[in-house]
């Protein structure tokens, strides 16, 4: 590393280097070599595209197969030529998913849980991140370490512990003050939303974001007599739109795709989210592959759409969290 740094200091300016490179040998030889170099480069680019294409197909084909199969009839998906396209587009599977599968109800539950928990999580995380970034107070480093520690406790490992808390939640669902006797917050909307109400990841993102903003606008507002809340609401919140978009996308996606938590908290189909409904649908409609593929697509469609329109923001969020 040190060697490269010293040689960088001795580097001639770029145009000069180019001239040195092309300046050797008679002109004809240069042209011949350049021709071969161009051919080699073209070959390399073609090879790169070939590899990239194969890789891309691995990621794309499963989704295309699911889509194509969902437009077949169950019979032709099971016994027909699976590698062929359907002779006509059959939308009956999507009808089955909603009429027989009860997906309208699951969709409602998923929407309520995801929207409400996203609003709560984004508000709380943005404010908390702002606090960590903009104010110094006793114990800040310690508290922020705790926030980071929660990043290392994935929701799945916490599912049973949190389930026990919901089951024994005091004074809810027939429980006594000591949390015994009833079912607590199980099989309720608050119980379904609990794990998504706060996110250490989101607080972390918000802190990183607000630390990157300058102090001066806030100071100026304070001199002008703004209260602390107005400093946040009028000065920094308008600047934080990209952050809020990213937090919203991640929060919504997390709540929407979660599987284990709704599986253990919802006691019946009336509180099944789409993911849980999909897994029971698959067990019930064994080998009805066209229906099952339609169900799998419906369960993921909203986040696929959000993703396609918001992928720029999502990718920026990932880069923020990992690259820096």
């Amino acid at each position: 590393m040190r060697a490269t740094t010293t040689s960088r200091a001795a580097l001639p300016p770029a145009p000069l280097m180019a001239a040195v490179g092309e300046g050797e040998g008679p002109r004809a030889a240069v042209r011949g070599r350049a021709g071969r170099a161009t051919a080699r480069r073209a070959l390399r680019v073609a090879g790169r595209h070939a590899v990239a294409l194969v890789v891309a197909l691995f990621f794309l084909v499963p989704m295309l197969v699911a889509l194509v199969t969902s437009f077949k009839t169950n019979a032709s998906a099971l016994t027909g030529d699976v590698l062929s396209l359907p002779s006509s587009i059959h939308l009956g599977s999507y009808g089955d998913v909603f009429s027989l599968g009860g997906f309208a109800g699951f969709t409602k539950v998923s929407v309520v849980v995801s929207v409400v928990s996203t609003v709560v999580q984004v508000s709380l995380s943005t404010l908390a991140g702002y606090g960590f970034a903009r104010y110094s107070f006793r114990g800040r480093t310690f508290l922020f370490s705790l926030v980071l520690l929660t990043l290392m406790l994935p929701p799945t490992a916490l599912a049973l512990p949190l389930f026990l808390e919901m089951l024994h939640f005091p004074l809810a669902g027939g429980n006594s003050i000591s949390g015994a006797g009833g079912t607590g917050l199980l099989n309720t909307y608050p119980g379904l939303m609990a794990p998504y109400l706060v996110s250490g990841f989101s607080i972390f993102l918000a802190r990183q974001f607000f630390m990157s903003l300058p102090d001066e606008p806030g100071e100026a507002a304070r001199v002008d007599g703004c209260r602390e809340w107005s400093v946040f609401w009028r000065v920094y919140r308008p600047l934080a739109t990209p952050l809020i978009v990213i937090e919203t996308l991640f929060a919504f996606q997390t709540a929407w795709i979660d599987f284990l938590w709704p599986l253990i908290v919802a006691k019946g189909p009336s509180l099944y989210t789409l993911q849980v409904g999909l897994s029971t649908f698959q067990q019930e409609f064994t080998a009805q592959w066209a229906d099952i593929m339609a169900a799998a697509i419906v369960a993921s469609l909203p986040i696929m759409l959000i993703f396609i329109f918001g992928q720029r923001y999502l990718r920026r969020g990932i880069a923020w969290s990992g690259g820096r």
Partner: protein
């Protein structure tokens, strides 16, 4: 900030304490639990299925994260720098991130199906025998690894691309001038510069792989012959199928302990990284 910290305590600290407490009881649904001391932990330690799950989890994590990181890095290198059309490739590779684990698992159950499933149909078409991906005990876990690569490589590719494109161009040019070839530049300039991102990938992905549940639950339900049984699936079955909350709580406590040990290490590394920014 107050409410967020209070909620973090309510949703993280309290459950962990409760879990520790109930792991020492024989709690069933509807109460009636007695204090049993370390009984549940003894049962966990003596459970062959638990250790089988740990083993499966370890193999799954090493294959998914080890193989996946190499693949994600390869794809990231392929699709960074000047390459016409890289945006489309990146988009397609990242696309499975928009599919839920449940949907992805259901779709791959169909792809891997041994009766008329698309993968085996395609293999038969070119004259190859189609293996029983999900019902062969030697293949089932690997099949889930493949599905997990499909779902997650895009995410880690984006992390690595961001890191690769942050490597100062001057360093790369300097190494070239010093006579480093393509691989030399990668080995001595790119790789050391993206070390923090690589650590992030391995830790995040590793912690995720230790929690694997949805794929095993939907695609194989732990079978065939327990070859895809994972720790979280064991917790789920003990607590919610056998209704033995105390035993499940003990297993969850062990899993949390592992996560916290890994987590403390990760946070220390993380805070060190933050000091540099």
């Amino acid at each position: 900030m107050g409410p967020a910290v209070v909620l973090l305590v309510v949703l993280y600290a309290v459950p962990i304490v409760l879990d520790g407490y109930y792991s020492l009881t024989s709690d069933q649904f509807g109460g009636g639990g007695k204090f049993v001391g370390a009984g549940n932990y003894v049962a966990v330690a003596n459970s062959g299925l638990f250790w089988r799950s740990v083993e499966n989890n370890a193999i799954f994590t090493v294959l998914t994260v080890g193989g996946g990181t190499v693949l994600a890095l390869g794809v990231a290198l392929l699709l960074s720098g000047s390459f016409v059309g890289k945006g489309i490739y990146r988009f397609v590779i990242y696309l499975p991130q928009s599919v839920s684990f449940a949907s992805g698992a259901v779709i791959w159950t169909w792809l891997f199906n041994a009766q008329n499933g698309p993968i085996d149909a395609a293999l038969n078409r070119v004259g190859l025998p189609g293996p029983a991906w999900l019902t062969d005990p030697h293949l089932a876990l690997l099949s889930i690894v493949i599905m997990s690569w499909w779902r997650d490589i895009g995410f880690y590719m984006v992390v690595l691309i961001a890191a690769i494109e942050n490597v100062p161009q001057l360093l790369i040019e300097a190494a070239r001038v010093d006579g480093a070839r393509r691989f030399g530049v990668f080995r001595h300039v790119t790789l050391p510069s993206i070390r923090p991102a690589m650590l992030f990938v391995v830790l995040t992905w590793g912690l995720g792989a230790l929690q694997m549940f949805t794929q095993a639950f939907i695609m194989t339900n732990g079978g065939p012959v327990e070859s895809t049984y994972t720790v979280v699936l064991k917790i789920y079955n003990d607590a919610f199928q056998a209704l033995n909350l105390g035993l499940g709580a003990a297993e969850a406590f062990v899993l949390l302990g592992v996560c916290i040990v890994v987590g403390v290490f990760a946070v220390r590394w993380f805070s060190r990284g933050l000091e540099h920014t």
